[in-house]
């Protein structure tokens, strides 16, 4: 058995559109080692959500996967039939979604939803409820037993996200996928949720694939960081390496744009000029060339190779190869 819970190899995902195939993910490689937290960072539209959707195999109807493997606990998920895949979801792998206010069913009680998802367990109703109460207590919901009968809208956003986390970890999965779980929350709540996730992760011993566009959160929580841009992985390494010695110009810019990292007072927040390239008709060469400050002649038509910059730190940029 490999030491990785999840191994994504050479994964591409395209969407059929009226104008042609939109290549949302291209040749993505990603490892999530057992017991670790891997962060994926990138701006909106970079393919983060597509990545998650293809791991849990809940892609939109017009998506197709031309190539790649997604190995989870030594099985290729792309080969599994729907029943086998469903058996993994919410069992061996769970997801905490972005907007907590809309991820829970509004007309069913919390208790009902938390016991419904234990349908695999051959336990009594009381037993399942006991389990739900225990999980709610673990995520810091006070007086959990009496709150089982309440509906989602009776909880605040932060509380709803705690409930989502409780639901996701109820089955003690091997992998928890967190899709921007804190983006919709206040900064103070964000910190609380991050700490909660970290605590639970050490207790339960699962791995976490953590998606965010918020660098501070990633730096705080993750062991490894993967930087995505326009459907490709452009840099990857330990959190320390990526944040302290960014090797890709995109990462560099991202760090400059993070308001928390801005030291000098300025009149406007820095931005990355330019737009994500057209993913239907991909430009030749480096994907980032139209927004890069260090663009060279080679970038125009040669795709940069995936190279080791130092130890476990990888990047795809011509600049590091000179």
């Amino acid at each position: 058995m490999s030491s990785d819970v999840l191994t994504v190899t050479d994964l591409s995902v395209h969407y059929r559109t009226d104008h042609g195939a939109l290549q949302a993910l291209r040749h993505v490689n990603l490892d999530v080692p057992r017991g670790s937290i891997v962060g994926v960072v990138g701006e909106s539209g970079c393919g983060k959500s597509t990545l998650i959707a293809s791991i849990i195999r809940l892609l939109a109807g017009n998506a197709f996967i031309p190539n790649g493997r997604i190995e989870f606990e030594s099985r290729n998920l792309l080969d599994l039939d729907e029943a086998a895949m469903r058996d993994l979801r919410g069992n061996r792998m769970s997801v905490v979604f972005q907007d907590p206010m809309s991820t829970l069913n509004p007309v069913l009680t919390i208790g009902r939803q938390m016991t419904d998802i234990q349908y695999r367990r051959n336990a009594s109703r009381a037993d399942k409820q006991r389990r739900a109460v225990e999980m709610l207590a673990r995520v810091g919901i006070s007086d959990p037993a009496s709150r089982l009968g309440q509906f989602p809208h009776e909880f605040s956003g932060g509380m709803q996200q705690r409930i989502s986390i409780a639901m996701a970890l109820q089955a003690e999965p091997a992998l928890l996928i967190a899709d921007e779980p804190t983006t919709a929350l206040d900064a103070t709540l964000e910190v609380q949720i991050i700490h909660l996730l970290k605590d639970l992760q050490t207790n339960i011993g699962c791995s976490i694939l953590f998606i965010s566009h918020h660098l501070g959160v990633i730096a705080e929580l993750c062991d490894y960081v993967v930087v995505m841009y326009a459907g490709e992985i452009v840099e990857e390494g330990t959190a320390r390496d990526v944040f302290h010695r960014p090797a890709h110009p995109y990462t560099e810019k991202l760090l400059q744009c993070d308001p928390a990292g801005i030291a000098a007072k300025s009149r406007s927040l820095p931005t990355i000029p330019g737009e994500i390239p057209d993913l239907v008709e991909l430009p030749a060469g480096c994907i980032f060339k139209n927004r890069c400050g260090y663009v060279m002649e080679r970038c125009d038509n040669v795709v940069p190779a995936w190279t080791e910059s130092a130890g476990t730190h990888f990047v795809s940029c011509h600049r590091t190869q000179t």
Partner: protein, 314 residues
């Protein structure tokens, strides 16, 4: 919740009062003395005067309106001028027939329309979905009285599968049920299409919501996701629409009752209008308006019962 009910009832009372006043105004503004019209051209002036007095038409209009409401508070809707029976007795004698008819029609429409809409939504853009869509529109547009006439012609007169007239023998449930089939079909047909479309649209909307993705991400069987998690939300608009649709249902019931010569509030209104029996017209229109107000309120309450979000905001 209490506040909501109070508001709702007040609004209902205001609407009913306005409607009655409107009717009074119309009776008054219309050229020609209702008593004269009622008694025909050969009536003597004395006879007309005494009839006017009996109907209270000799009083000034505001007094008439006030008297009507004062009597109404005592549960008195006046006397039928032809049979001299209390209007309340007549109206409430006919009401159950109409209520049963409407209820059967809606249940019939819901039993076919909701699953059809569900099926269409889950098999979106397939041939079956398209056909359902076109058939739904065709059903919606077919006027109830045309459907009633055609089904009377086809199933009762030509094929003789079902009885053509009446509501069946009193006390004989089977006979009454057989008599309900065609009228309920005539009223329900357009609702099948309507509900199918409505449920399809709201089902598609609900299936796209985040919590459905969540339910799937927990590996819940598709059957549970669709029927327990999505459908419960998708039928909510149906309840509102049926509640607000009471007016259409009553109108359709009127035609159907006439075509099938069934007793009922619609037929009562029609008959009393033809015979210029104003107290009965007034009483039955009042009751239908009250029925409408009640049905919208009830549908709101049912919605609140089904949707906890509304429950807390009421």
């Amino acid at each position: 919740m209490l506040l909501y009910l109070i508001k709702r009832v007040t609004l209902g009372v205001v609407i009913v009062m306005l409607a009655v006043t409107l009717l009074f105004c119309m009776i008054h503004l219309v050229p020609g003395d209702p008593a004269r019209i009622l008694l025909g051209p050969r009536a003597t002036p004395e006879l007309i005067a005494s009839m006017s007095a009996r109907m209270g038409l000799d009083l000034p209009m505001p007094v008439q309106v006030l008297r009507f409401f004062a009597n109404l508070l005592r549960g008195d809707l006046g006397m039928d001028i032809i049979t001299n029976r209390p209007v309340t007795e007549i109206v409430f004698g006919q009401l159950p027939y109409t209520l049963w008819l409407i209820f059967t029609a809606i249940v019939f429409a819901a039993l076919i329309g909701i699953p059809l809409g569900c099926y269409s939504a889950l098999h979106r853009n397939t041939l079956a979905d398209r056909i359902t869509g076109v058939v739904s529109v065709a059903c919606i547009t077919a006027p109830a009285f045309v459907v009633a006439l055609c089904s009377l012609l086809l199933f009762a007169v030509t094929l003789q599968w079902f009885p053509a007239v009446g509501a069946g023998t009193r006390g004989d449930v089977a006979d009454q049920a057989v008599h309900l089939v065609l009228p309920a079909f005539a009223i329900g047909l357009s609702w099948i299409g309507y509900l199918a479309r409505l449920v399809r649209a709201s089902m598609l909307e609900v299936m796209g919501e985040n919590h459905i993705r969540t339910a799937r991400a927990y590996g819940l069987p598709e059957r549970v996701v669709v029927y327990r998690y999505a459908l419960k939300l998708a039928v909510l608009p149906t309840v509102t629409v049926i509640g607000v649709g009471m007016g259409f249902l009553l109108s359709a019931a009127l035609f159907t009752e006439i075509v099938f010569a069934r007793p009922g509030i619609g037929k009562l209104i029609y008959d009393s209008i033809v015979t210029r029996n104003y107290p009965v017209v007034m009483g039955s229109v009042l009751i239908s308006t009250v029925l409408f107000v009640i049905s919208t309120t009830v549908s709101d309450l049912v919605n609140a019962w089904l949707d906890p979000r509304i429950r807390t905001s009421l």
